[in-house]
């Protein structure tokens, strides 16, 4: 079990209310302070005000594209988010590369379980993750552009 720094803020940005609520409960129970945003602009505002350690951003977030959210965060010199985890159903190589260029640290393909996400968040918060792959970053675990394998995820 990961040691959690109590109150570590995790912002989940997802338009799907079931996903949002499930992840919020899971992260709260794991000892994090989970925050939720249902649109791109709400995610940006909350990130700016709450300065989360991790932003979990869904690729299909509404009102702004996920890449617009990422670009806005990158332009913000105050660096409101510690790390960014990009999640989504249609995460292919192109999306992962584009996300990486905009500051994404890791990606997870939907569908995943709440336990999978809590584990991933825990690994991202560790100072030096032994799972971090070498220079090319993607290795064989990168999502195929077509229908992905279950539980596939990648650290960038």
């Amino acid at each position: 079990m990961n040691m959690v720094n109590p109150g570590t803020r995790i912002l989940i940005a997802d338009s799907d209310r079931a996903v949002l609520e499930m992840l919020q409960i899971r992260l709260d129970l794991a000892g994090y302070h989970a925050l939720a945003a249902r649109s791109g602009p709400a995610a940006l505002e909350m990130a700016h005000n709450m300065r989360p350690a991790i932003l979990v951003l869904d690729l299909a977030i509404t009102e702004m594209s996920a890449f617009e959210v990422l670009a806005a965060l990158q332009r913000d010199v105050s660096r409101p988010c510690g790390q960014i985890l990009l999640v989504g159903k249609r995460l292919g190589v192109e999306e992962v590369k584009r996300g990486a260029a905009l500051g994404v640290r890791a990606c997870m393909l939907k569908p995943f379980s709440g336990a999978d996400l809590v584990e991933r968040v825990g690994k991202m918060l560790k100072p030096a993750s032994p799972e971090r792959p070498p220079a090319n970053g993607f290795g064989s675990r990168v999502a195929p552009a077509a229908r992905p394998a279950p539980s596939s995820n990648v650290f960038i």
């Binding site: 609520e21 499930m22 919020q24 379980s113």
Partner: protein, 127 residues
Amino acid sequence: MSVVAGELRSDVGATFDVLSWELELAGARCIFLDTLIGKLLGTVAPEHREQLIEGIQAVDLLSQHLTGLSTFARGLSQTVAAQEQIEVGAALRSVTLGALADRMTSSFGGDEAGINDGDEAGDLDLF
């Protein structure tokens, strides 16, 4: 009831995905409940503790049951043909819990199709 008449189609994989998220959400609520009962355990009289422990075990079992079904639905979503479409609107209209029906309708793209009226009233929001 906020789901109005109208056809709503979804591919089979996405339908299993939506089911999977909902089952996992129900499982997460059970874990929340389990934790809450655990906290209460220290506050009740010793003669009532056994009953509470039975309750914790039942909720824990229910949580595992739901998580198992969620995993199964998630697994199925990966194995079905993505292009196969089914009509989900009629089945959704039989879901009487407003919040659940709204969430599932949104997940199936009902907001964009104008099927969900977005009314979130009438539900018991615990969180």
